[in-house]
């Protein structure tokens, strides 16, 4: 298998094409546009996550890749082949369903063998591959069991083995860990990534759990109302979101609404009614004076102090409104004079020699010139 895949990888590399191309794909159900002009390219052996809130069209996009739905318009190209019109049973793509969709009347081994049987492989080879898959997901002991005799985690592993058994060019995972409880989920995330990397398969997963996406995927697409808002690495998405939706969807953030007050080539100032002084940003942006802007500031970038900071810009005073104690750090909710509540994440180590600020205590917040992100939409 490794030989096969490296050959096609070489092919893809030679022609300079990405492995999977989704070109301007639209899907409408009646008048309802569920997937809206999506363009996406994915490289070989990527682990890619589609992240978005419920109803944003993630599953529909995935189902179009699997062939369960046909795009209203647009093309899907896998490894140089246009597969837009291929029926699901002819696509070199396998999917692991959110509900696992194991065949209840077949044993674990028969479930895994099902796909191989459809290819009419010789029995000896089927047996060998099933054996290998059972080994891979550590389910050898349970080969003869029926799905209803397995726990949720075990069912998930069988479903994964079944979708990997045919050595697909593309593996699709719809909420792969959605049915597991939180503890098992975190443990399984890394296991799953290791397995996928070990097998060396290109993988697209759908999730609405941002932690899961950040842990597992090399690249993430943020999807909202059928459109891809941003496609980038977990780090880029978190540090440099390109719109308010992404900034607020991934992690916690404080958003200040304002307008461009000073526009210089190497710095700008944003005047916000929420703050007493304009926000100073130590780089230029492209935009007209007076245009509406948003400034996103992550809680861990907000510095909390009792004394007024010496730096005059990028600070504000307020009182402690609420404290969420989380052990290693606490989230302070600071109420500014304007009434706006700012979240600040404060490490426990900051208060070594003095007691931590408490409710209603006056405090100052401050941040660096490059700590936040200017958003234009």
């Amino acid at each position: 298998m490794l030989m096969e895949s490296s050959v096609s990888a070489a092919n893809a590399a030679k022609s300079g094409q990405p492995y999977l191309q989704i070109v301007d794909v639209v899907k409408k159900f009646g008048d309802n546009t569920v997937v809206d002009h999506v363009n996406l390219t994915i490289n070989k052996n990527d682990i890619f996550a589609l992240l978005g809130s419920s109803g944003s069209g993630k599953s529909t996009l995935l189902r179009m890749l699997a062939g369960m739905e046909t795009p209203t318009s647009g093309r899907i190209i896998l490894d140089g082949q246009d597969i837009t019109q291929l029926p699901p049973y002819e696509r070199p793509i396998n999917m692991m369903f959110q509900s696992y969709a194991l065949f209840p009347h077949m044993t674990v081994a028969q479930n895994i063998a099902f796909g191989l049987k459809q290819d009419r492989l010789p029995k000896a080879e089927i047996d060998a591959r099933v054996e290998k898959m059972l080994d891979l997901v550590q389910m050898k002991k349970y080969a003869g069991r029926k799905p209803y005799q397995l726990s949720g985690g075990q069912q998930q592993r069988v479903a994964l083995a079944r979708s990997l058994a045919k050595r697909p060019k593309l593996l699709l995972l719809d909420e792969p860990l959605g049915a597991l409880d939180k503890k098992l989920r975190q443990q399984t995330q890394l296991e799953l990534v290791n397995l996928i990397e070990q097998v060396g398969v290109t993988c697209i997963m759908v999730t609405h759990d941002q932690e899961e996406a950040m842990t597992m995927a090399g690249r993430i697409a943020i999807m909202s109302e059928g459109q891809l808002l941003q496609v980038a690495t977990p780090n880029e998405i978190y540090e440099y979101p390109n719109c308010r939706f992404t900034a607020e969807f991934i992690g916690e953030t404080n958003i200040f609404e304002g307008h461009l007050a000073v526009d210089e080539p190497d710095f700008v100032e944003i005047a916000s009614p929420d703050l007493p002084t304009p926000i100073f940003v130590a780089h230029g942006i492209t935009g007209a004076l007076g245009m509406q802007l948003w400034y996103s500031l992550r809680p861990e970038r907000v510095y909390l102090s009792r004394e007024q900071p010496t730096e005059v810009r990028n600070q504000a005073s307020g009182v402690v409104h609420d404290i969420a104690y989380l052990g290693g750090f606490s989230i302070y909710h600071i109420k500014l004079a304007s009434g706006k509540i700012i979240k600040a994440s404060v490490p426990a180590t900051q208060w070594r020699d003095e007691p931590a600020p408490t409710w209603e205590e006056p405090v100052f917040i401050s941040w660096g010139d490059n700590d936040g992100v200017v958003l234009t939409q």
Binding site: A66, P88, N94, F97, A101, G115, R162
Partner: protein, 273 residues
């Protein structure tokens, strides 16, 4: 959780059971009556059972009824499965409600009308094509299939609708063509519904009198027809004996079927949990 049943509940339950089962129990008791008069107890005897098995008219009517019931229920299950698939899986298509309505019409239409309209059809067909030559097993069979198929379609359709479609999609995703998916995945999963549809069709066909009356010809008398005509001539403990056997056979079948269904249901529950 054990709940105390109030005296009112107990009484209503008792009355309910009495009305349901007392006639049957009386019927069974009188089948062991030595007297020829149904309403006069003349001592215990199994005489009428022997009489029943020697009665050739009853035996051939029973044979015909079983044959018709078996043939009709097999055909009704086959057609009902196809119709159920079309209604549950093919999405929306032109004339779908008309199709659904036509298929389930025999359930709501008075049987007299179903029987009469089919009789007219067969008479007309005979005039035009010379087929079917006469009314008999074939015409009864067609009539029963029409009736039973309506019920089977409803049973199978509702099972298909509540079934998790992703199991079928997974099979297709793994390379099975739609036909194969149907035979290897869908059919085994709806097997309990097929079985209950079959039993339903079998009993419906076995005790149908009205449609049969319109569609049967000379020499094709089913058991319900025979019983009906005999009873009109006067009650006879032999019929009681026949009824007792029927009740026992049907009762056993129902219990077995319930057991099988309950086991299948339990497995499904476990998997869903």
């Amino acid at each position: 959780m054990s709940q105390k049943i109030s005296w009112f509940g107990k009484t209503s339950l008792g009355i309910g059971f009495f009305f349901l089962y007392a006639p049957i129990v009386i019927l069974m008791i009188y089948s062991f009556n030595a007297s020829k008069l149904v309403t006069v107890w003349g001592g215990f005897s199994t005489h009428w059972y022997g009489e029943l098995f020697r009665d050739e008219a009853v035996m051939s009517a029973l044979g015909l009824s079983l044959k018709v019931a078996l043939l009709s229920s097999v055909m009704a299950v086959a057609l009902g499965t196809i119709a159920g698939m079309v209604l549950a899986r093919f999405g929306r298509f032109r004339g779908k409600s008309l199709f659904a309505g036509m298929i389930t019409a025999p359930m709501v239409m008075p049987e007299v009308i179903t029987g009469l309209s089919m009789l007219l059809l067969f008479v007309q067909m005979q005039q035009w094509f010379g087929f079917p030559e006469e009314r008999g097993v074939l015409t009864i069979w067609v009539g029963h299939v029409t009736l039973c198929m309506a019920y089977v379609t409803v049973v199978i359709r509702s099972r298909l609708v509540e079934m998790d479609r992703s199991v079928e999609e997974a099979a297709m995703d793994l390379g099975a063509r739609p036909m194969k998916v149907f035979f290897v995945i869908t059919l085994p999963l709806i097997a309990p519904a097929l079985a209950s549809g079959f039993l339903l069709a079998f009993t419906l066909s076995l005790d149908d009198l009205v449609i049969t009356a319109f569609l049967s010809g000379p020499g094709s008398t089913t058991l319900p027809q025979l019983i009906f005509s005999r009873v009109r001539l006067g009650l006879n403990p032999e019929i009681n004996a026949l009824a007792t056997i029927t009740v026992l056979v049907v009762g056993t079948l129902v219990i077995v079927a319930n057991r099988v269904m309950a086991r299948a249901e339990k497995k499904r529950r476990l998997l869903a949990a």
